[in-house]
Symmetry: C2
Subunit: 295 residues, 2 copies
């Protein structure tokens, strides 16, 4: 599904959503619905498709890890903690034995690591590419929920880790969702907006800005790249599963000091600011570069 | 996926489940997890696959209705009410426009009818058969939750409606999940065990009995068949989406009187009883018949 088409459908569905009772939903990383005792119930569904998200020869355990961690990453991006998972496997006959076992080992490893329990699932058969869908619930205190659309003009934009080259480096199969980091941010810093980077910064940042009713200005040179990754790769490869978030300028110094103490091994980079609606600066040169290199 | 293999995987997963905090889970119609205020949160994931669960030329709206109503049927079978749904669509390029619109129309129609809200979803691309997965939450008061495994020896077995021929008659695309009936049963009769019939009585009844630690004796002649459906079809076609439930003999007369007043248009049939573990009577002749007719 290309991003343009997906965004269009998201916009159409948002209208339907207003009739529901969700606090956040389509267009956010998770849906969030009211729950007793000042909590929100987070709901996420996410799938990986053979030949799109993993190769047919990928380790089944790695595929299970990836399928589960993608959903964990979305729960984390809202400030929440994962709780329960339901797995749907649509597999070819020959995948229903040892391959399925390996898949579940990967999912259960992620469950131990990130604190969720597999409570149900379903199996169906296909003669086409395998599909593994993970439906996950999570929980977050209402006051710690971080929406995608809470950014304000002047907020500074940060990303964790490095971007680009996730496929070539194998990162897309073995990444660790930034759950501890996101929980810490939700509890201590309260970013105004946050999301995880799954489609690449060049697709995802405009979504955060649009949801916030703002524009953005970024410094292409500041974007932290994985070793060997070009700027284009850092912007467009996707499947980084790093956090992108906005914080007020007043909080930024405290954030950077506290981050270095708390997460000394993980890079945190300020890449720009949220600007007035309609401003989209920093990708321009990159788009030009892309166009040039493709033509 | 054949039933034998699915049952084996279900058994394997049940061990993992014990480590979780679910009240019910793999092997039940839904997972049920603790929720505040005497409630259980019900979680279900269910998918339909092109060429398996619907033909490529089926109306997209009917496919959406079916995909949503399958999950509603499972929530209902636990005594619960559906609340929120997340939709994952894995589609070929040419299905991502009008077909997807039609699919959502069918899902939203089911939402209006059965009281759930679509709060999120995801789109992915495939070059194989389309897959539509529905992840649904529901709620039920703890004391109204009906497990699959609560049946006792001597309980009477009932089914709603008629069985068999769901494909030929088109029932599988336009069935109405028995939500009102199941809620009424949960509130007033409290069946000891209940499930919805999705794989056919001959596959599903042994599951209810096994979960309850009992056997069963049924009267093949008593099984209510759809017009034109053979006994074999009523037992094995599947996708009936009727309720199968067990009630103590003491409640049975009251059930039948009250049912006729409350649901005069829907047949309710006593088809047998739960018996001692190891007893499986009534399908024997049918299996023999099947074997004979196939050889």
């Amino acid at each position: 599904m290309n991003n343009r088409r997906e965004d269009a459908i998201v916009a159409r569905l948002r209208a339907a959503l207003r009739r529901g009772r969700a606090v956040a939903g389509i267009g956010d990383d998770c849906a969030a619905v009211e729950s007793p005792r000042g909590k929100l119930l987070l709901l996420k569904t996410d799938c990986v498709v053979e030949k799109r998200h993993f190769r047919a020869d990928a380790s089944a355990t790695a595929v299970g890890w990836k399928a589960a961690c993608r959903a964990v990453s979305d729960i984390a991006a809202c400030g929440g903690e994962p709780q329960h998972a339901l797995i749907t496997c649509v597999l070819r006959d020959k995948q229903a034995g040892r391959w399925l076992d390996g898949l579940y080992r990967g999912i259960e490893k992620a469950g131990r690591e990130f604190g969720f329990h597999v409570v149900g699932g379903e199996l169906a058969r296909t003669d086409g590419p395998a599909v593994v869908n993970v439906a996950m619930t999570g929980t977050v205190a209402r006051r710690e929920f971080i929406p995608r659309g809470g950014g304000r003009v002047g907020d500074l934009l940060f990303v964790t880790g490095t971007l680009g080259g996730s496929l070539r480096s194998g990162w897309h199969l073995r990444f660790r969702p930034r759950l501890a980091e996101a929980r810490w941010l939700a509890e201590t810093i309260r970013p105004s907006a946050m999301m995880d980077l799954s489609d690449g910064l060049a697709a995802d940042l405009p979504r955060l800005a649009a949801a916030s009713g703002t524009g953005f200005v970024i410094e292409p040179e500041a974007i932290p790249r994985r070793r060997g990754a070009s700027l284009r790769a850092a912007l467009a490869d996707g499947e980084d599963f790093e956090l992108l978030f906005a914080v007020s300028a007043a909080k930024a110094a405290r954030l950077q000091r506290a981050w270095r103490r708390r997460f000394p091994a993980l890079r945190l980079t300020c890449i720009g600011t949220l600007a007035k609606r309609g401003v989209a600066r920093g990708f321009g040169a990159v788009h030009g570069y892309d166009h040039f290199s493709d033509s």
